[in-house]
């Protein structure tokens, strides 16, 4: 990175944070601080919802996913538009009608205090544990490739996000997210254009897409019922629906983004904006990755994209193995490139006999090149069992640093930081709000009427969660398996929380005690299954939700009909 890159990076990041803090410095109303300005329009809400979901890992990892496995991952988002329609039609009108600050407050109104505390507690436990990961995960990648100090990246990003989130609350979060999304959009478009310009002469988008397709990278929709396939239309529709419904409908970091606004219409249109654009956006990022794969078929590529890790071993005492692998990689890549060019010639000649043979030779050469990459990964793992093995996370950032012109490099690094700040800000905002409204006000009910005090307390809790997140990221030293464990933890809780909300919305006959104990039983069952079975953790969303609903009905039947006094009890 040179001076131009630094100007772009610091100008956008510090500028947006400073602007957000300055514009929102006088907010004194609790409603505005926690729910956002009453004048917020659907465009801001829509971008804010999008920015909250898109973390830095989205922009680092998803192009890598496209590079490695193709665009099939897009099917994971197929349930999202359906979930957003349900949120718009059922969840959002109810939140606004009851004028709640948090989704868990709704549980208190619908059921009772203990159910509200359970919902809020599960959210705080899950998000609190994950608090450091959203800062640490991108920071470790950026520090590795940029050679910057990890602790400095964590402290600087943490400080920036704490300052504007604490100052302006929900208004600052939405305002900065809108600008950060503009940086992200322009950065990703720049990267895509540069990638197309860097493709070999005569290949162009169409040729590159044909190569990617022939190498199996553009299979976007898979209608097979084979359970061993990870991403299919059906898993996307079913799993994606439950995940998205749980995330958008009950997770306070999302609910807080659309619950405010001038009217119900603004929130609904903001969500529909995401329902329309999310799949095309994710497809575009994955396609970028698939085209990067084609680009690296024609350009020199590192055998292992995490070069910092690779070079440490290649220059070490056992470096001979690594250097031999590098030589084999050069040969395999050259073979693969020749085979691709031969296939393109056969395809252009429209020779019906030559094309299948050339395609088979190309696939064979590609398999041999992939086998060398697998051996390289195994060699790194053998040399360092604690090494970060998801090498695809380094593909896009390597392309940015080695292929983009100066200025654009700064913009793309700003994309990574903008996405890290935007998702972190929403998370801190939600953690601070839930701690204030669902826990602190529960302990201090008399303080509910002192608005200024409530704002002060919300600011302190937001800052406290920010410090906890930075502390976690600095001192825990997350191993890769710990990051995954925290993500799994999310899936373990999400299903039961969604179950509680679905009971609240659709099973009017079930009361607070039934759903509370049913949720505890369902959560215990999910944890027991997690500890004893070996099934994909995404299934726990479905299992947790279904068992919570079934147990609630069963328990309510045992307890007998709800007393009329229970209905509509506020908490």
């Amino acid at each position: 990175m040179n001076a131009a890159d630094w100007v772009v990076l610091l100008g956008t990041m510090v500028g947006i944070a400073a602007y957000g803090s300055w514009r929102t410095r006088h907010i004194g109303s609790l409603n505005t601080y926690l729910k956002g300005s009453q004048s917020t329009g659907w465009g801001t809400i829509g971008l804010s919802v999008m920015a909250t979901q898109a973390s830095a890992i989205t922009f680092l990892s998803i192009p890598g996913q496209g590079f490695e496995s193709g665009v099939g991952f897009v099917q994971n988002y197929f349930g999202l538009p359906l979930a957003l329609i349900i949120v718009c039609a059922v969840f959002l009108p109810m939140y606004r009608r009851l004028n709640v600050y948090t989704s868990y407050e709704f549980l208190g109104r619908r059921f009772d205090r203990k159910t509200r505390l359970l919902g809020a507690g599960l959210f705080l436990l899950q998000r609190g544990l994950a608090a450091g990961v959203t800062i640490y995960a991108p920071a470790i990648i950026l520090s590795t490739v940029l050679g910057w100090r990890l602790d400095l990246i964590i402290v600087c990003t943490g400080f920036l996000v704490i300052v504007y989130t604490v100052t302006g609350g929900s208004v600052a979060v939405s305002l900065t997210q809108k600008l950060q999304m503009a940086v992200i959009g322009s950065g990703m478009a720049t990267a895509f254009v540069v990638l197309l310009l860097k493709l070999p002469e005569g290949l162009g988008f169409s040729g590159a897409a044909h190569v990617a397709g022939a190498l199996g990278k553009l299979q976007a929709v898979d209608v097979s019922f084979d359970p061993s396939r990870r991403y299919t239309l059906w898993t996307g529709l079913l799993g994606g629906l439950f995940l998205s419904l749980s995330y958008f409908g009950t997770d306070q970091s999302q609910v807080q983004r659309y619950i405010g606004g001038g009217s119900l219409r603004e929130g609904r249109l903001g969500l529909m904006f995401n329902a329309l654009l999310k799949i095309p956006m994710q497809f575009f990022i994955l396609l970028l990755g698939a085209l990067l794969f084609v680009f690296y078929q024609f350009s020199p590529s590192p055998l292992f994209f995490n070069q910092s890790e690779w070079q440490r071993h290649a220059r070490g005492p056992g470096g001979g193995t690594f250097r031999a692998l590098e030589q084999r990689h050069v040969v395999a890549t050259a073979d693969s490139q020749r085979a691709i060019r031969a296939w393109l010639r056969a395809r252009d000649s429209r020779d019906a006999a030559a094309e299948p043979a050339a395609r088979a030779a190309m696939l064979d050469a590609n398999r041999r090149a992939a086998a060398v990459r697998s051996e390289a990964k195994a060699a790194v793992l053998a040399a360092n069992p604690r090494a970060k093995m998801k090498d695809s996370d380094y593909v896009f950032i390597t392309f940015i640093l080695t292929q983009l012109p100066h200025g654009a490099v700064g913009l793309l690094v700003a994309v990574m930081f903008a996405s890290a700040l935007s998702s972190k800000a929403a998370e801190l905002n939600a953690l601070g709000t839930t701690t204030t409204m669902d826990l602190w006000r529960h302990i201090r009910p008399l303080a509910a009427h002192d608005e200024a005090r409530n704002v002060r307390v919300a600011k302190r809790f937001t800052a406290l969660w920010g410090v906890i997140a930075v502390g976690f990221a600095l001192f825990v030293g997350f191993a890769e398996n710990l990051i995954e464990a925290i993500n799994i933890l999310g899936s373990i809780f999400y299903g039961v929380v969604l179950g509680i909300f679905l009971v609240a919305f659709f099973l009017r006959e079930v009361g607070g005690s039934a759903v509370f104990f049913a949720a505890l039983a369902a959560q215990t069952l999910v944890i027991a299954m997690f500890l004893s079975l070996d099934i994909g953790y995404l299934w726990y969303n479905l299992i947790g939700c279904a068992t919570c609903i079934a147990f609630s009905r069963l328990l309510q039947a045992v307890l007998g009909p709800r007393a009329p006094a229970d209905e509509g009890r506020a908490a």
């Binding site: 197929f78 718009c88 009108p93 397709g213 299979q219 249109l269």
Partner: protein, 50 residues
């Protein structure tokens, strides 16, 4: 000290204000139609470049 603003009473009676669509049900159908179209286009894209 001021309390929170009154609850939103307008709910579904509020028009979506989307050109050509009068009701929220129409908006949801439009989004569903778009989703189906996107899936079809993705499938066609995969097939064309396979």
């Amino acid at each position: 000290m001021t309390g929170p603003p009154p609850p939103d009473q307008r709910s579904d009676a509020e028009a979506p204000g989307v050109p050509g669509v009068r009701t929220w049900r129409g908006v949801y159908l439009l989004v569903l139609g778009w989703f189906v179209l996107v899936v079809i286009l993705l499938a066609a894209f995969s097939r064309f470049f396979s």
